[in-house]
Symmetry: C2
Subunit: 586 residues, 2 copies
């Protein structure tokens, strides 16, 4: 994970190429395959003869994996699986590394036995190109999808299989197998659990995306803050005002710096806890409430991956605008940071779809707590639901801004908010069900302003509690400044949720909106003196940051001049000048 | 303006090249120059020998034009102006067409007479390249700024002048001149009015940007709505659900479709009024309260240009995400629409800076109305300020969602909101002044949550009143559907301003937030059946829209297949395959 994060900061396409081509594939071989697949593992990891890809999404089906239509039909006569794509809508697509470079793909297809039974999605190792020539094999239509908004170092491809045959042994058979004569044998009782195991590998991927988002976010705010500290505008000739002195500029940027701090400390702490559980369970040690912990981790990842990826995207846009026209230069690098980050909001689980899964878990815990049953939260993120009734009775009673500028106020406000949103979402959902709607329909009608807001607020709360725990483990000298940035983040997110706090009755009258916003502005003025040091701590090296506006030397205009003057061809006459001068003059 | 809007829809770089290279330059010659500049006008418009550029922004100064440092010093001996750039920070930059192609630039420089007096910024026609060879002239350092996030068909350049000489007659001398022996003669008494006249040309440019934003917005929502209508996901195999059926998807997109409708009808109506005044005054006819009308128009443009450009940007991002992974394809064209639109939020007046100018005008009118003086609003946009006291006494008293789904509720809520924000902003500003701060400091401290929100809300109100007037002039059959989209827009913007409506006491308790949001969701469900027809009316032709996801034939997957298969080289082996196969195998 650390290697991935570091490589991504330098070049996102390279990190994706490695992550899919080597790590995801080799891990999948270990977790889904058996000893008969070790040859692929060694060819990938030891001999570097295999570069892999991961083929799941189809042209017409992405989020809904159940309805994928690529088939792998077993032929007992030849002891082979016959892979087939019925039509273009079922072509696998968006497969990174497939367009031009991979030698094998990890394919997910519907496994069909000779008796015609469909056993659902299974993983297969499928050869795509001859490793010695990179020629694709006959029976395949493999192409590159062309240019994208970003990450163009990755060759995303599509593929159609025309009754393409692979050996029986290429089925990854840890959880289920097909015998030589075509009998399906599963080690799980339910096919859905097989799918779950097959897709579990995606969780680590989503944590990886959160780590990368922290990098992109840190880079973007570093550029904008350094620019704001060196760029002056308005005032008198000899004492023009640096942008960072303007309250509006502080307000536009500092909440994003704060989220860079909070998100990073959250991810650091959460990753440690996650890996601890994974390692324990892989080593065969007992983990208490393992299945409940896995559900809670899934809810955490499913709500936080959207929060972090959207947060970094929003920050990058604000940072580009805060650098004005100069931020529009490719050399400022904010544009590329943004474009390369952008796909994360719809891949590895579309954010809008993924956060609904967190909502399911949250509602289930709320129903448990209403029914007086235990809340299944071994990681403790919803432990406070036990006191939901008491929490719901609270109201806003602060008198001055200093009452608000502390984690205690922020977290207790969040607990109220989560309890209220749980109730609000639950009641809407029940009302829709009472109308006779199906579960899916009721849930769809309860998304906007309810489910969606609930999972976002839960994710904000999660980033704060894991961050706070992390701050408390740091050196004492660092804690005051980290707590200030924590409060900038917490108050700016409370600001975004004020409507619900008014609607739900936590707040009445003008005080809360005024005090939250005044407190936030005071904190912005307060952290101004520390913010440059904070981004210096967050930023990668100048080489990695690669921005003409964000170098750590603060020599903004000298760096711009050097960049302009050293661009190849900057001063050259256009080669097609003859085509544009008036023809009468030639 | 119509030609510009149409060309921009096909290719934004071409429209910028023409707008700057021909129209802006030739208009400036007519408005700032005299008969001695007609030769430049004819060379540009008739003979197409001149392609121009517009050099104002400097490396270290953009928004604050006063402090530009390029000088034009008059030399009476040679009867020439000597243009000089003291250092790289004063290099002109972001000059479209300058990097590679223009023959002349319209330069703004500090005019200095032989007595050493600086008379402020003036416009000069400055030859850059030999029109016959496109070679730059000696004495100039002219280069291209390199790649940008978008609009890369424009060669943005930078330039430094090394005591570069131009004839005295190249000064655009309609409002001021320098005699042969170096005496400055102004036809205005105040130099600031000269600058005002020189920069007035920018107003039409900002209206042009609003028209272009409407095009970009319409294109983006057309792609996303057509995709949403054809793409299905989840449900049963034979009856999967189209994305457009999901309430969350409706809520994500329909407010942007509504803003595409409202913005276009606003711009259409406002442009007509603006051009009417301009033509009348150019023809020498009397325009009542011309100077007040010019101020009000400036406030309208300064607040609406930010609203429309940010609105289109936000919409393009939402549309890309609503098209999922496929929206990330370059061929979907949403990425390019977005990237080419993106600079509008920081150019021709940075949005954050520009909207402050509207705020100045608003506050001045509020002070007038408080003092019992007349409100100077000949276009009538603030006429309601007369009734400010009565309006401020209103509170929310609707009982059902149908009370909210009409323009009357929306506009009266906005009037309350503007009155409250004027008072809230004014009082904060006065309180800061009372602390002894300067006017600039007080204003800076009153931006966030006050000034900034005020000008945004005023702009929203403006788009609605001009749109409504336009709807009322349309055929009766069209009005009901247009009013519905008007209400979707109005309720979604009220939703964004709920905090202020609670904070200011317009609303108490949970009703307003609930009813506004329920009404919006009801309207979304309601307009679902009309939204495809509406985007068919808004969208340009398929050729212009140029999106594989947004073709009007609805054949989503066939179009994708054709695009993938016909991409040159899609199926070709990479030319550098030998470099990546295992060397031992070669």
């Amino acid at each position: 994970m650390t290697i991935n994060e570091a490589v991504q900061a330098v070049n996102p396409s390279v990190s994706v190429k490695m992550a899919i081509g080597i790590y995801l594939f080799s891990n999948a071989l270990l977790s889904l395959g058996t000893e008969r697949h070790l040859k692929f593992y060694e060819a990938t990891v030891k001999h570097r003869e295999i570069l892999a890809s991961f083929a799941l999404t189809e042209i017409a089906h992405g989020s809904d994996a159940r309805l994928m239509r690529t088939t792998a039909t077993y032929d007992p006569e030849h002891k082979e699986f016959v892979i087939h794509t019925p039509d273009f809508e079922a072509a696998k697509c968006w497969v990174g590394n497939l367009g031009k470079t991979c030698t094998h793909t990890l394919l997910f297809a519907q496994l069909i036995t000779p008796d015609g039974t469909n056993h659902g999605l299974h993983g297969f190792v499928v050869p795509i190109r001859d490793p010695n020539t990179l020629e694709t094999y006959p029976g395949l239509i493999v192409g590159d999808m062309g240019e994208k908004i970003g990450v163009n170092g990755i060759d995303n491809g599509f593929i159609m299989f025309n009754k393409y045959r692979i050996p029986r042994e290429n089925l990854l058979n840890r959880t289920a197998d097909v015998t030589e004569d075509g009998i399906y044998q599963s080690s799980f009782s339910e096919p859905s659990r097989i799918l779950g195991a097959a897709l579990e590998n995606l969780s680590a991927g989503r944590i990886g995306i959160m780590q990368e988002s922290c990098q992109s976010l840190a880079s973007a705010v570093s550029i904008a803050i350094r620019y704001a500290a060196t760029r002056t505008q308005f005032g008198e000739r000899d004492r023009e005002t640096p942008l960072i002195e303007y309250p509006l500029h502080q307000w536009r940027l500092f909440s994003h710096v704060a989220s860079a701090v909070v998100f990073r400390l959250y991810v650091q702490n959460f990753t440690k806890i996650y890996l601890n559980i994974v390692e324990k369970s892989n080593a065969g040690h007992r983990v208490d409430n393992l299945s409940e912990a896995v559900s809670e981790i899934h809810a955490i990842v499913s709500s936080c991956k959207p929060l972090l990826t959207w947060g970094a995207l929003r920050a990058a846009q604000q940072c580009r605008e805060a650098c004005g026209g100069h931020g529009f230069l490719k050399r400022a690098n904010i544009g590329d940071i943004r474009s390369n980050h952008e796909p994360t909001v719809t891949y590895e689980g579309d954010n809008s779809v993924l956060s609904q899964q967190a909502g399911n878990w949250l509602l289930r815990q709320y129903e448990n707590s209403r029914a007086g049953a235990a809340v299944d939260s071994p990681l403790g993120t919803l432990a406070f639901l036990r006191d939901c009734a008491a929490i719901s009775g609270r109201t806003f009673d602060c008198k001055t801004t200093s009452d608000l500028k502390n984690p205690q106020f922020i977290l207790s406000t969040y607990k109220w908010l989560i309890c209220w949103l749980l109730k609000y979402t639950y009641e809407k959902n029940e009302a829709e069900l009472a109308k006779g709607l199906t579960k899916a329909q009721a849930r769809n009608n309860s998304q906007v302003y309810r489910w969606k807001t609930l999972t976002k607020v839960y994710a904000e709360y999660l980033t704060m509690i894991f961050c706070l725990e992390n701050i408390e483990s740091k050196e004492k000298e660092l804690q005051p400044v980290l707590i200030k940035f924590f409060c900038v983040y917490g108050l700016s997110t409370i600001d975004e949720n004020l409507v619900e706090l008014y609607q739900g009755g936590f707040s009445k009258g003008e005080e809360m909106a005024r005090l939250v916003r005044d407190a936030l502005m005071e904190l912005c003025a307060d952290v101004k003196v520390e913010v440059v040091s904070v981004v210096d701590a967050l930023a990668p090296t100048d080489f990695v940051l690669n921005s003409v506006l964000g170098k750590s030397d603060g020599k903004l205009y000298q760096n711009l001049q050097k960049a302009f003057f050293s661009e190849p061809g900057a001063f050259a006459r256009i080669p097609w000048w003859r085509e544009v001068v008036p023809s009468s003059k030639l």
